[in-house]
């Protein structure tokens, strides 16, 4: 192996600083959430305790965060499933040029770049004028999809750009119908990427704020609840909540990554070359 040039060490140092920049603040509030009961929002630590975590479990102290958590979880799962199904279908559609495909693509890009507050405002206005009540499971759900679906679609483009079509041709030559080809050949090959789409769908929804601001109605999702706390809570309880939700997100990410990893192992063990097409 050739010797590392000096630039490697400089860049490695830069990279380490970048990682510190990314994670440092989060770790800090992780530590500060263990403040003693008299502790403030910053160092020094005034003793070490679980006081602020206990506070979280007492409803009157912080409002209905567990209800908000349950709603965010349910909404995240709804958005996740919808995003996977709709993105895969759209991804399949976009493999061939169809009348209007260019237009639909640009609309999807618009959905990605449009300022979130416009979705919030527009959907809120429509529901208002139609006399409907905004609710996280209807207007909130639809608004979040305008953010997760374009992401899912872009991932599907990346997937199908690398997809080896000869697998499909082989299936078709052996007499598989179009549906059988998709179900038994295409979907298993792209499965790991679908887990990626699912991860995007869930986490983007679980953390979404701007698009649910005017569309969630009277029952807040967790990010809305957290934001409400920033304006009227000035104790480390907000760090405790931040630490818990971040841990939850990390757990979700770990589950998804672990699933992809297990899938990869299984394939390697089965000696199948299916994954090579991805």
């Amino acid at each position: 192996m050739e010797k590392r040039p000096l630039s490697f060490y400089v860049l490695a140092g830069f990279f380490a600083l970048f990682v510190l920049f990314l994670y440092g603040p989060t770790l800090t509030i992780g530590i500060l959430s263990f403040q003693g009961p008299q502790g403030g929002l910053t160092f020094p630590m005034n003793g070490v305790s679980l006081h602020w975590f206990r506070d979280l479990f007492e409803e009157q102290a912080v409002g209905d965060i567990w209800g908000a958590f349950r709603r965010s979880l349910a909404l995240g799962l709804m958005v996740m499933v919808t995003t996977v199904v709709v993105s895969v279908m759209a991804g399949l559609a976009f493999r061939k040029r169809f009348l209007g495909s260019g237009l639909l693509f640009y609309i999807a890009i618009t959905s990605l770049v449009i300022p979130s507050i416009l979705i919030s405002l527009g959907v809120g206005l429509i529901f208002n004028q139609l006399g409907l009540k905004v609710h996280w499971a209807t207007s909130g759900f639809g608004s979040q999809l305008t953010w997760t679906l374009p992401f899912g679609l872009l991932i599907m483009f990346a997937v199908f750009n690398r997809f080896d079509k000869s697998y499909e041709e082989a299936a078709r030559d052996q007499g598989a119908t179009a549906w059988q080809t998709i179900y038994h050949v295409v979907l298993p090959i792209i499965a790991p990427s679908l887990i990626g789409v699912a991860l995007f769908g869930f986490t983007l929804s679980y953390d979404e704020f701007a698009r649910t601001l005017l569309t969630a109605g009277s029952y807040n999702t967790l990010p809305l609840e957290v934001f409400g706390m920033t304006t009227n809570v000035t104790s480390p309880v907000i760090y405790a909540l931040g630490t818990l939700t971040t841990l939850f997100s990390l757990m979700i990410i770990a589950v998804f990554l672990f699933t992809v990893w297990v899938m990869g192992k299984r394939r390697a063990r089965a000696g199948s070359d299916a994954g090579k097409g991805v």
Binding site: F98, L121, D207
Partner: protein, 304 residues
């Protein structure tokens, strides 16, 4: 319509069949794209149309009423607050873009060309992307203990003797707003740039070296031009996220700074929807114009 529907079945079963060739692929494509189209029509196009319509409406203190008047736009363009706020928005976008590009490019370059083992490369890449999947609001809050008057940064600088009194401009200033933007959005540069760099044929780098190019010359004349598509995609993300933001500016500036998003959200909280809608229309046009220009330089679908 029944003709179209009738063609679907045979096409699905035998895609190669010549008979349905003109019409068939279109119909299958439409069916597969229908759910996406439905969502985008209901929750993107209809809201945009609604905002455009409402931007011509009138408002009293408590309610809004349909009308066709240009008052909202006249007020918007007649006020120099608008120009200042748009200027501030572009300023945030430009500065954030410059920092995220410099940092993102360096990080991606390190990962793509200096990390030799693939498992480590994947692990470090994931390390960079994981924060993207956690809450932005929590990540903003997490700067408070750092930047506050008695925060870590000030205490450290005082104990090192660099400053005598706490710096006031660390939190609730342009500095903290841009810091938060860079913190939140650098990933959007790292990922597409890294993706493009990984697709650069390594033999091109060898060729450059064989011809006597220094590492820096290779970077400047080979890698940088080939990475342009990734840079463009990252730019689109960062610019649109910053231009459309209202929450980061509000939170990190302690409501002391404004951008267009905040102008809209302030109007919304005062129930001045027509005025908010007019501002939103102008913002949307601005963003789409910027993206339209950027898209001229890159074919997104090809680069993924």
């Amino acid at each position: 319509m029944s003709d179209l529907a009738g063609d679907v079945q045979p096409v699905e079963k035998r895609p190669a069949k010549r008979a349905g060739r003109r019409l068939g692929p279109d119909v299958l494509g439409w069916l597969q794209a229908a759910p996406l189209t439905l969502v985008l029509v209901c929750f993107l196009l209809a809201p945009i149309a609604m905002i455009v319509a409402v931007s011509f409406w009138g408002a009293t203190e408590f309610s809004i009423y349909p009308a066709f008047q240009f008052d909202n736009y006249a007020f918007l363009f007649g006020s120099d607050v608008t120009y200042r706020v748009f200027f501030a928005t572009f300023k945030y976008a430009l500065i954030t873009w410059a920092f995220t590009l410099a940092i993102g490019f360096t990080v991606a370059y390190f990962l793509a060309f200096h990390v030799r083992s693939q498992p480590i490369q994947i692990a470090l890449f994931l390390l960079c992307t994981i924060p993207f999947w956690t809450s932005n609001i929590i990540r903003m809050i997490s700067w408070i203990p750092f930047l506050g008057r008695n925060g870590i940064a000030n205490s450290a600088l005082i104990s090192w003797g660099v400053i005598d009194e706490p710096l006031e401009w660390l939190l609730y200033s342009d500095f903290s707003v841009i810091l938060a933007f860079v913190h939140l959005y650098t990933l959007f540069m790292v990922v597409p740039i890294f993706n493009t760099m990984m697709r650069i044929d390594k033999s091109l780098l060898e060729a450059a070296r064989d011809n006597g190019a220094s590492g820096f010359q290779t970077l400047l004349h080979v890698i940088l031009p080939l990475t342009k598509p990734g840079i463009m995609i990252g730019t689109i993300f960062v610019v649109t996220l910053v231009m459309g933001d209202f929450i980061t500016v509000r939170f990190m500036s302690g409501s002391q700074r404004a951008n267009v998003g905040r102008l809209i959200s302030n109007d919304i909280s005062l129930l001045q929807y027509p005025s908010a809608a007019a501002t939103a229309v102008v913002l949307l046009c601005t963003v789409l114009l910027v993206i339209g220009i950027l898209l001229r330089f890159v074919n997104i679908r090809k680069e993924l």
